[in-house]
């Protein structure tokens, strides 16, 4: 029996040839920066500089510059931390998991998504250091280094320590994975370049020679790293969720957190990828590579993860009621109806209701709607972490200690700092690195481009 597969939509449109791919991607790197890029970059760097004032104030004066108090020991700091770590997840998921599942559509978005991962993790890692009362000591005391204090080791029971391992592993693997992928493309740019650029990209490409054996090694390393990175997609946010799940605070002490956090992370990560890709494809005119199919597929992932998150929210409430634990019940009633009800309902609206709009084909294939909703989802996911952290802490066991949290200007400044850092890095990446994985796109070109097939 002859099986005929249905005709698939081409992954790269516009009848691109191999040369077109090289040219379209490399031209961004080779050309002069556009005015638009300069403006964007300066805005990002300016935000970074303003944010740096807040960071300096925090390190110089103390954590008192933030809005925290005796009852609420974490608020924006850890909210931002979890939020940025979550955003990072999409990159790893796209490049590693989709690689293992041989999802070819990933090829044109994985580079940028991975870059986003790395920058997001850098931003995230700012907070565990900055939120310490004594970061100058904590930055290395939190590591299990041999020392002459006794010898004094870290506390392996502490979820914060697990975080240190989780985040550092995640960052290293992601960085290596991303860089390995960049090497053939750097070599492509090197081969087209002259002068100083040739030297620099020559260095960056580690003497790539394009030989079959090199390609073979490249493929296997990619596969191994993908294999390594895949469990990390699950483990990092699982461990981050342990910060809360292993505690005694009602609203934190919840076994549902690991899967719920992972789903939320993928949810917000895809939203962030969409936000960035929609801008990039427009600015760099890469519509043929990042097609509507990509956007639609990512929107479908958002529907799924958004729904998982929604179910998790409802499950939490059910369990609070079902457990019979009064403190837990109060914590959840307080979330929905207490002084921070607005944060809770913002979260519910942004995360549970808004992604359901993607059931409509019209909405999920609309660039503008997708862009708007991707931002809404990220706002929602920020609120999710805020709700978990602040509303659980602000009214826990003893009513005498109940308090409110109001962010200070420094809180906002530090958050801005990470935005500045993220976008500064991203714009530098977009200008100087190939934003699309040329080598991998070329590998899918044959099956999708009419011209190449001829």
């Amino acid at each position: 029996m002859q099986v005929t597969s249905s005709v698939r939509e081409p992954l790269v449109t516009g009848g691109k040839t191999y040369h077109d791919v090289t040219h379209d991607v490399s031209r961004q790197v080779e050309g002069k920066p556009t005015l638009l890029w300069f403006l964007a970059f300066l805005t990002a760097a300016g935000t970074l500089a303003i944010g740096l004032i807040a960071v300096t104030a925090t390190v110089w004066e103390g954590i008192g510059m933030w809005g925290l108090n005796k009852t609420i020991g974490w608020a924006w700091d850890i909210t931002n931390f979890v939020w940025w770590v979550g955003i990072g997840h999409a990159g790893t998921l796209i490049s590693a998991v989709l690689l293992l599942f041989r999802q070819k559509w990933r090829t044109s978005i994985n580079r940028a998504a991975e870059a986003m991962t790395i920058f997001a993790v850098i931003c995230a890692a700012m907070f565990p250091v900055l939120h310490m009362g004594r970061p100058w000591l904590g930055a290395y005391w939190a590591l299990p280094l041999p020392n002459t204090f006794g010898s004094l080791w870290v506390n392996f029971n502490s979820p914060l320590l697990w975080d240190v391992f989780a985040i550092s592993t995640y960052f290293s693997v992601s960085l290596v994975f991303w860089y390995i992928g960049l090497i053939p493309d750097f070599a492509t740019i090197r081969d087209r370049a002259t002068g100083l650029r040739k030297v620099i990209y020559g260095g960056l490409s580690f003497g790539w020679d394009g030989a079959a054996k090199t390609w073979m090694r490249y493929e296997s390393v990619s596969l191994i790293l993908a294999g390594l990175a895949t469990p990390l997609v699950l483990s990092v946010h699982t461990i981050v969720s342990f910060d809360f799940a292993t505690s005694v605070i009602p609203g934190w002490h919840t076994t549902i957190f690991p899967p719920y956090f992972v789903a939320g992370a993928i949810f917000s990560g895809f939203a962030m990828v969409l936000t960035l890709m929609i801008i990039t494809r427009k600015v760099f005119k890469l519509e043929d590579y990042i097609t509507m199919t990509h956007i639609e597929l990512m929107n479908i992932v958002i529907i799924i993860t958004g729904s998982i998150v929604g179910i998790a929210y409802i499950t939490e409430f059910f369990i609070a009621w079902y457990s019979g634990v009064e403190a837990e019940q109060y914590a959840f009633i307080n979330r929905a109806t207490g002084p921070y009800w607005w944060a809770y309902w913002s979260m519910m609206t942004c995360n549970v209701i808004s992604p359901q709009l993607f059931w409509f084909k019209k909405i999920r294939t609309s660039i503008i709607a997708t862009f708007a909703l991707s931002i809404v989802v990220n706002i929602g996911m920020w609120f999710e972490r805020f709700v978990i952290i602040v509303t659980s802490l602000h009214r826990d066991y003893l009513p005498s200690s109940w308090a409110m949290f109001y962010p200070s200007i420094t809180d906002i400044g530090v958050y801005l700092f990470t935005f500045g850092l993220f976008f500064t890095l991203f714009f530098l990446f977009a200008k100087f690195f190939p934003v699309i994985n040329m080598a991998e796109v070329k590998s899918v070109l044959k099956s999708t481009s009419e011209k190449v097939r001829k």
Binding site: E61, I63, G64, L68, M132, G133, N157, Y397, P399, S400
Partner: protein, 1028 residues
């Protein structure tokens, strides 16, 4: 002098005259070994070595060692051993208040005040103000020498001027607060004789003139009686805050607590009725509290008199009818208790006090619970004389006025008139230690020593004496005021000699045993107190007539006053305001309102809702209060339990010249007090207008949620009747389902459990005897160098207190109405719960610290290692009791906090720091350590003497200060320790989990099984049924 033939040599080389040594003997630095190049030139290595050396030498020389001003003793004083504290018995006295104290000094510096256990009055206990007063010794505001017309001068100049001016001044008046010192009185008498009968006028900021005036009318002797609350079965108080601020609160709190301790063996407690306008500390502890208007208070007393008189068969008096809840019940209980009943009134109206005396007389209580035969000398100020003095001063009839350690310009109702009148006196002198509101207006200031630098004696009660001795040599060029008086009256002896002579002639002669005065003196000084049993006298019989007083009361009070009423009151922490410049007291959270750094108008919830005033967190608004033309703008604090139509305002604030801590904090309410009736009246029932202005304001409160949300895992309480039938009444027994059955939470644990082979420290807290006075909180602050953070940081909810008193109001809402339960009842039941680190055996903080900065000790303590802390605050988040405190900023040596945290910023203030406790750096977490430094010191002392630590030898600062012994600390491994006895821990076992058999004892949040080492005892209310 013989020639010194000794030779000193640098080393054996020199002695043996080693040729190699001799060669280099004149060179300061040893020659660097050369790597012996052929040509003898320097090699690259030599060059680097030299360069390295020069660099290191140059940079070391550039680092100048900081200049420290600590000057070591050249010869060690006999009784000062570094790191070993010395204790001196002395006495605290201010404004007619008194406490016999023991002062702890370290390296010559007084650093802590505890109560003197030998004192029969305060029995080893103190209150917050006494605790805090040690910091006033190191107040930068203190004068460093005498002043004439605002210019610093020397004592000789001052003395000659004073003498010459006084001689020609005419009438000389000495204004003072109550003088408890018999020898001072004698010195003043001597002074008075020299200066033509100079008169001593005594007044007190917080007046109890009404009581002595009434005693004069009713018993013929103007005295304040001694009270024995411990003998009372039924206590009825009309606005007398006897646990917090009335006459001798430390003494009364101790007595009262005795009647509130309850156990299976003694299931009895006193019943306490309180009728008052403001919710006072005492009212908060009452079994039945009825909010009444100040204008009704006199009639309430009359109604009680009539009810009792009816029962006693005595004549009733005519009184307008007044509807007051629980009054009839109170009368029944009083009559049942008879001589074990006690009625007290906070009113300063002599007529009301006469009726109160008459009630006590009807009950036969005079001689048991109240004793006019054993008068006390506290607060014996004479309002009438003071009033008259102000008139004289204003009229320019006073030639010379000497303000002897008092500040009437600030703390007398007619302060403004005194300020005006001072200029009219030819001579004005003050002995005040600081340039306060009064001292800044006088011509000459002869600053007195601080009381911790002075010799003094006191007679707080007839036959009870105590001595004050210096615990440090004077810090500044001040002079004891009594010495000044003696000098001005031409005496050549100093006050110390004068004191000794007086004791030898007056007191020693009354001593029956003992022959040697020196021995008697040394013993008295060592003990701090000395008492003579006075000869038994016959009970005073009433000579006065109650009906006249009753008629005046009936006329002066009304059952239905529709106008606003203002009731001025004294705060437990600030008192009269004399110690307002002590930031510990300013930051002490008020036991009732939980507010710091302010006074405010307390309004009823009804008034607030009618006037649209809300209070969310600290956000409130201001009101203008006008009393007979005088207007003040004050923030509003919505106070459950405030009688409708009345408003409360605390005195002791609004200082303008107290110093940088207190200046400008709050408003001065003294000026609203009324003196028109001949006594200082804090209950202003006419001419009061209050209007909300809507101007936004923030009051810094340490607790902003007022109710306990019906959480039985936090507050467990029962009524006495319930307790009698079931000792575990009110207990909440959480159970968790496991393997088919419900078990106690302690049966389920991840942990294998600690073993404490030596000690297992524990703390038992009786919520029934904790009155909420917060003496523990200040004691802890002093002992543990806890930082003061100032109003803004309290507003940011970042106060540092290691022990706090959680104050919860009851709510009328049903249990399922969570919103409703956030609102306190109109007249709530109040519960106080001291809360500090619970030293959990399964501590949630310990597992989460990434760097193991908080760990468990082998004695059951949860220890905090500041040096290791990196400040992630995870421990604080994970603490279910929220007792961990973070150093958000650098609070020491930081100009931003220098104005409030004086004990950790200026050189003078730092002298009060406890050298045994680290001042914490910024960015680290801190919390109650259960005074681990005291535990360590106690263990070392026992070890040195090769014995076991005895129970009671080690005690935590909070428990030492507690006037009601509500906190009991000890070793739970020792079945004979007091804490084990209380908890009924039978066996000696070393496990962290102890079998506690006391039915009332419970763990807060038992269901999460963090297994604290702090136990709470249920609150028992002596009520017939559960009712608010």
């Amino acid at each position: 002098m013989k020639e010194n033939k000794k030779t000193y040599w640098k080393g054996l080389e020199q002695l043996s005259n080693d040729p190699e040594f001799v060669k280099h003997a004149d060179k300061e630095f040893a020659e660097l070994p050369s790597s012996l190049n052929e040509d003898g030139s320097a090699s690259r290595r030599d060059f680097l070595k030299l360069m390295g050396f020069s660099l290191a030498a140059a940079s070391l020389a550039a680092c100048e060692a900081p200049v420290r001003k600590a000057i070591p003793y050249v010869n060690k004083p006999v009784d000062i051993n570094p790191s070993i504290p010395n204790y001196y018995a002395s006495t605290f006295s201010s404004g007619g208040d008194y406490a016999s104290i023991v002062v702890k000094t370290r390296e010559g510096r007084p650093i802590k005040i505890d109560g003197n256990e030998l004192s029969p009055i305060n029995k080893g206990k103190v209150n917050a103000i006494v605790e805090g007063s040690v910091l006033s010794l190191y107040d930068k505001q203190r004068l460093t020498g005498p002043y004439i017309a605002g210019e610093k001068t020397d004592w000789a100049t001052l003395d000659s001027q004073v003498k010459s001016k006084l001689a020609s001044a005419g009438s000389v008046k000495i204004v003072s607060n109550t003088i408890l010192s018999p020898t001072t009185n004698k010195a003043l008498q001597q002074f008075s004789e020299v200066f033509g009968g100079a008169e001593v006028i005594q007044y007190d900021p917080i007046s109890n003139y009404g009581i002595s005036k009434a005693a004069e009318t009713y018993y013929g002797t103007a005295v304040i009686p001694s009270y024995s609350f411990d003998k009372a079965k039924t206590i009825v108080s009309f606005g007398a805050d006897f646990l917090g601020t009335w006459i001798s609160p430390i003494e009364f709190a101790g007595q009262y607590a005795k009647t509130r301790k309850i156990s299976k063996e003694k299931p009895e407690m006193s019943r306490h009725y309180q009728f008052e306008s403001n919710l006072s500390l005492t009212g908060a502890n009452a079994d039945y509290r009825t909010p009444i208007k100040a204008s009704q208070s006199g009639l309430a007393v009359l109604a009680l008199y009539n009810a009792i008189a009816k029962k006693a068969g005595a004549a009733t008096v005519s009184a307008p009818a007044v509807e007051i809840a629980h009054l009839e019940k109170a009368a029944n209980d009083l009559w049942a208790a008879k001589s074990a009943g006690l009625v007290v009134s906070g009113s300063n109206d002599p007529n009301v006090q006469v009726v109160v005396n008459a009630i006590n007389e009807l009950l036969g209580a005079n001689g048991t619970t109240v004793d006019f035969n054993a008068p006390v000398h506290f607060r014996k100020g004479d309002d009438a004389r003071m009033n008259q003095f102000v008139n004289e001063l204003k009229a320019g009839q006073v030639g010379a006025v000497i303000f002897y350690n008092c500040n009437p310009v600030y703390d007398f109702a007619r302060g403004a008139e005194i300020a005006e009148g001072i200029a009219k006196a030819k001579v004005s002198i003050s002995t005040n230690g600081t340039m306060d509101e009064t001292a800044s207006l006088v011509q000459m200031v002869a600053p007195d020593h601080h009381f911790l630098e002075s010799w003094n004696d006191f007679e707080p009660k007839k036959g009870h004496y105590s001595l004050g001795q210096p615990t440090i040599s004077p810090l500044f060029d001040t002079r004891q005021a009594q010495d000044s008086f003696l000098t001005w009256s031409g005496s050549t002896s100093n006050f110390y000699e004068f004191l000794q002579l007086n004791w030898e002639s007056e007191i020693f002669t009354q001593v029956e045993t003992g022959t040697d005065f020196q021995e008697f003196w040394d013993r008295s000084l060592y003990n701090g107190v000395f008492a003579i049993t006075p000869a038994a006298t016959e009970a005073l019989a009433p000579i006065g007539d109650v009906s006249a007083a009753a008629a005046s009361v009936a006329k002066a009070y009304s059952a239905s006053n529709t106008g606003a009423e203002l009731v001025l009151y004294t705060k437990v922490g600030i008192g009269s305001g004399a110690f307002a410049n002590v930031p510990w007291l300013q930051e002490m959270s008020d036991p009732i309102t939980k507010a710091t750094w302010d006074n405010y108008l307390t309004v009823s919830q009804k008034w607030a809702s009618e006037n649209g005033v809300t209070m969310i967190e600290g956000e409130t608004s201001k009101a203008s209060i006008t009393v007979n033309g005088k207007s003040l703008l004050v923030p509003i604090l919505v106070q459950p339990g405030q009688a409708e139509g009345t408003f409360g305002l605390a005195v002791g604030y609004g200082r303008t010249k107290a110093g940088r801590v207190a200046n400008g904090v709050g408003v001065n309410a003294y000026e609203l007090a009324d003196t028109s009736k001949g006594f200082v009246n804090f209950d202003i029932t006419a001419g009061v207008e209050v209007a909300a202005t809507g101007e936004a304001y923030r009051i810094a409160r340490t607790q902003t949620h007022q109710t306990f949300m019906g959480r039985e895992n936090v507050i467990q309480e029962a009524t006495l009747a319930e307790y009698k039938t079931d000792a575990s009444a009110g207990r909440y027994h959480p159970e968790i389902y496991k393997d088919g059955e419900f078990v106690k939470p302690s049966k389920i644990s991840l942990w294998s459990g600690h073993q404490y082979s030596q000690h297992h420290w524990g703390l038992a807290i009786d919520m029934n005897s904790c009155i909420g006075c917060s003496a523990c909180s200040v004691a802890c602050q002093v002992e543990n160098n806890v930082a003061v953070v100032g109003k803004q940081e309290v507003l940011n909810r970042r106060e540092m207190a290691w022990i706090r008193i959680d104050r919860y109001y009851s709510s009328d809402a049903p249990a399922d109405d969570l919103r409703g339960m956030e609102v306190a009842s109109e007249n709530p039941e109040v519960t106080f719960q001291p809360m500090m680190c619970q030293q959990c055996n399964n501590a949630p903080c310990e597992t989460v610290c990434p760097v193991a900065a908080t760990t468990h000790s082998s004695e059951g303590l949860n220890q905090m290692t500041y040096n290791r802390c990196i400040g992630t605050r995870y421990c604080a988040n994970n603490c279910p009791y929220k007792v961990r405190r973070f150093n958000w900023f650098k609070y020491h040596d930081n100009k931003d906090f220098a104005g409030v945290n004086v004990a950790q910023n200026d050189d003078l203030g730092k002298m009060v720091l406890n050298p045994d406790v680290t001042v914490r750096a910024r960015g680290v977490m801190e919390k109650c350590s259960m005074c681990v430094q005291r535990i360590q010191a106690g263990k070392l002392a026992a070890k040195r003497e090769k014995r076991k630590v005895q129970d009671g030898e080690i005690n935590v600062a909070c428990a030492v200060a507690c006037p009601t012994d509500a906190l009991v600390f000890g070793d739970m491994n020792d079945a004979n320790s007091k804490v084990s006895q209380l908890l009924k821990i039978k066996e000696n076992n070393t496990s962290a989990l102890k079998e506690v058999n006391e039915e009332r004892a419970y763990h807060v949040l038992e269901e999460i099984n963090v297994s604290p080492n702090v136990w709470y005892f249920t609150k028992i209310r002596n009520k017939d049924k559960n009712e608010a």
